[in-house]
């Protein structure tokens, strides 16, 4: 039996750089505002929106629109599936790094 390459465990939805960043930030709080996430990742509204739609469709992120005082505010939350997907992605990346070091000890 052969062991599958860790790269195969990477999830295309999660592996994209910005989406991985979104999941990482959201994993550290119960909820986060759209504006705070945008500022933390240094993105434009449109760019963040586009990636959030992908994550929402994959049911990895939950989006709640409401008000903070009189101002409209969008709250984002990592779903259980999102937390699990992030955990798997990090584990796959760590596996890849370990494998790379084992095959290239001088790198």
């Amino acid at each position: 039996m052969t062991e599958s390459h860790p790269a195969l465990a990477l999830d295309d939805t999660v592996h994209q750089r910005v989406r991985l960043g979104i999941l990482t930030v959201l994993s550290e709080a119960q909820e986060c505002t759209f504006a705070a996430l945008r500022d933390q990742l240094d993105l434009t509204d449109g760019n963040l929106n586009r990636h959030l739609k992908v994550l929402e469709q994959a049911e990895l992120v939950q989006v709640t629109k409401g008000y903070e005082g009189r101002r409209p505010c969008t709250w984002l939350r990592l779903t259980r599936a999102g937390r699990e997907a992030l955990r798997r992605e990090i584990a796959a990346l760590e596996d890849l790094v370990r494998r790379h070091r084992a095959t290239n000890p001088n790198s």
Partner: protein
């Protein structure tokens, strides 16, 4: 290597987000420690040795020792604990507005106030004659009827909300000390003897992990410019 760079970036981002989301944990920890330390004033001889002690049950001051006034002790915890929860709620709401990141602080409020209400209900239960908590043959539960346990439950819940093992450990520490000090008489009984410490000393030891946590988190936040 791409995977290695990605991991480095993920860790950096995670640390940054963690500091932003959980940088406010020092204030509730300091407030709870202050409440514990302020309760030292409820005892008649908080630090001084005395030849005889009358510890009235329930132990509304916190640990099984002589209180100045059971009513004063009762009011202290039943007003002080909600006050600390209210202060904490206001603090987290303010941080939410500034940082845009929300911590599950209602968990702390629910645990602290929930166990406090449970304590009031249990203490008011018509359980027949008052238990002789001071005898070895007494019932097993008097040690659980202390206002220190709602505080301990609140600290554990705060640790869960703030994802801090140190806070969870501080809560468990308060609970273990509270049960030990209320369950075994006289105060400070250990197998084969007893420690010659007074309620004030024990409360300082109880609050110490919270104080260290608050100081470390505050200093870390200042260094990071939080």
């Amino acid at each position: 290597m791409d995977a290695e760079q990605t991991l480095v970036e993920v860790r950096r981002l995670r640390a940054q987000a963690r500091a932003r989301a959980h940088g406010g944990a020092w204030l509730p920890a300091a407030a709870i420690a202050a409440l514990l330390l302020a309760s030292i004033a409820l005892y008649r001889w908080p630090f001084g040795q005395t030849s005889s002690i009358v510890a009235e049950y329930p132990f509304w001051a916190g640990v099984a020792d002589e209180q100045r006034s059971p009513m004063l002790s009762y009011l202290f915890w039943f007003l002080g604990t909600p006050l600390v929860v209210g202060l904490t709620a206001a603090w987290y709401r303010r941080r939410e507005r500034v940082s845009g990141m929300r911590v599950a602080w209602p968990l702390f409020a629910a645990a602290g106030l929930g166990v406090l209400v449970l304590l009031a209900v249990l203490a008011a239960a018509p359980s027949g004659p008052q238990p002789d908590a001071l005898s070895a043959a007494g019932p097993w539960w008097p040690g659980f009827l202390t206002p220190l346990l709602p505080v301990a439950a609140g600290v554990v819940a705060l640790g869960v909300a703030e994802r801090s093992r140190a806070l969870v450990a501080a809560g468990v520490w308060i609970a273990l000390m509270a049960v030990w000090l209320c369950q075994w008489w006289p105060l400070g009984t250990i197998p084969g003897g007893m420690l010659s410490l007074r309620p004030g000393h024990y409360l300082v030891v109880m609050a110490l992990p919270l104080l260290v946590f608050a100081a470390v988190r505050y200093a870390r936040g200042r260094t990071a410019g939080d």
